[in-house]
Subunit: 326 residues, 2 copies
């Protein structure tokens, strides 16, 4: 079509297909959710073009990143997705094609993660594209996994690999590094920045085994400090045990200072959690759930301190602890 969609058209054509029954066809003032016998969890994330993603990123990956950042929070709480609400502020130059790709990406993830659209609001902005997603999830009775339950003696685990997204972001801005990497490593890191992988597959294991958990979104070092403060404990990490992808290792081999970036950069969307019991059994269960985790340290007595030991067992110092979009 030659003209842009009206608000009614974009709701009917692009967003209604993503909606669950609770959304009432996106035709009412509010979604109507059935009673929830279990506790519900709710989380919100806002993303701004030029701040949280590049305006030129593919529209479908922008949509997916926004949803997945929220799903990662649900996963970290051991919750299963119920659905989400989307607030979308479109800049003056939006096109039907862009919005179709955005909705198509969102539709793929709604289906892949079992998380339908519950409601939304689309508005115009003279500024950059801005979107905010509120995700709702269902926790199992009595098994919400907070940040404050870590106790001395717990082992500390992290899922997936750390630092890939931060290195991917660096690659976007550092042509020399980009040129120095193998095409495979380059593409892998760039993709990891674009598309988080929310670890919903870990939610059942967290519900049964974790004393505390959080999603790593602002950098492992700073986020572990948050968990330690919330639990009023300290944490000791053996950095050689922190899982790194082959691509991250390749980048760090070129520039060893990137190791610190990997540990303090944001956008990992992996799960950091604490648990008692047999570590190899927990690692086995995580692998069986297709969400590999490894033990990287332990919780000790303290009040928010974090200790990161390098390969020589020396305490590492970081120039900054975490990444902030604020």
């Amino acid at each position: 079509m030659d003209r842009r969609y009206t608000e009614d058209e974009l709701i009917a054509k692009l967003f209604a297909p993503l909606a669950g029954p609770a959304a009432l066809g996106l035709m009412d003032d509010a979604a109507l959710l059935p009673p929830c016998v279990n506790p519900m969890v709710a989380t919100v994330d806002a993303l701004v073009a030029g701040v949280h993603f590049f305006p030129e990123d593919p529209a479908d990956s922008i949509a997916k990143k926004a949803l997945r950042a929220n799903l990662s929070d649900l996963a970290a709480k051991g919750a299963e997705p119920i659905g989400f609400l989307l607030a979308l502020a479109l800049p003056p130059d939006w096109t039907n094609q862009w919005l179709e790709a955005f909705a198509a990406g969102l539709a793929e993830d709604c289906k892949a993660f079992g998380c339908p659209l519950l409601g939304g609001d689309t508005v115009a902005t003279p500024g950059p594209l801005t979107l905010s997603i509120t995700a709702l999830g269902e926790a199992a009775q009595g098994s919400f996994v907070g940040r404050s339950g870590a106790r001395p003696g717990d082992a500390l685990y992290v899922s997936g690999t750390i630092g890939d997204a931060a290195l991917g972001l660096r690659l976007r801005r550092d042509a020399a590094l980009r040129a120095g990497l193998s095409p495979k490593a380059r593409d892998y890191l760039l993709e990891r920045y674009l598309l988080p992988r929310p670890r919903l597959a870990l939610a059942p294991l967290l519900r049964t085994s974790a004393s505390a958990a959080m999603d790593v979104s602002d950098g492992l070092v700073g986020d572990l400090a948050k968990l330690a403060r919330a639990s009023r404990v300290a944490a000791r990490v053996t950095t050689r045990d922190i899982p790194l992808s082959e691509a991250a290792r390749e980048a760090i081999a070129i520039d060893p200072t990137l190791f610190e970036l990997a540990l303090t950069g944001g956008d990992d969307y992996e799960i950091l959690f604490c648990a008692r019991g047999n570590a190899s059994e927990i690692e086995r269960l995580a692998s069986a759930a297709s969400a590999p985790c490894v033990m990287i340290g332990e919780i000790i007595a303290g009040d928010g301190e974090t200790i990161f030991l390098d390969a020589q067992e020396n305490i590492m110092k970081f120039n900054r602890l975490s990444f902030s979009h604020f």
Copy 2:
């Protein structure tokens, strides 16, 4: 203080005091809501400076307007507030003083409407101030008031007075009109634009008596058409019965074309609803709840048509049906 708040500081000092127990001190990845034996309703609204409000509006009224727009949706569904999540994108020139006033306004409304903060995300934007609120509410079992239940023979009611906010917005931009009004009328209309009055007091009456309801946020004429379409009925309104404030009457006396603006402008945040039964009894119950309502017409057979009759019982034509921020 001379420097601006860090993200941790503004959470701890400004937003944590607004948080309910479910927010876990705003220190976790997500809020944890207790099980809800009743159905839950969820709604989201986004507001952009320069689009939905004036950037120079008082910070406390910006906060209140954003929350109240959502509370109005809950009220229209016959729901009681549970709480809300806030996504706040701050422009480069934000100040501590502005944010303190914003949080103070929000705190007043959290208390006044029994709607605590459940979670939030604060980010930086190079663009205008943008905020998005997702409100959650509890509907009574079996008494959710949708838009689709209106039936021929129902009477049509509206709460409060119509058009005040649209006239207040016009006043902001029309110095001649502003000068022509009495100070009292001018101040009243300006205040009605700044501060919606969500009709939560009507929720119990809607639950027991309404066949359909919605909040009037984009103009009475266009919103009634939405309700009629959702219910697959038609509606006939006697425009002389539409409640107008003294201030609105004063403005319309100066410029009779403003009557159309009153009926098609946005931001009323009043409740439009349909009900059977004794009209004077419904109006009495609404007054007793301090949310006066009047009957303005009736639902008839049809498929989305709306008929507005003027004082001479002629069918009115409107240049546009409703106001859109999109």
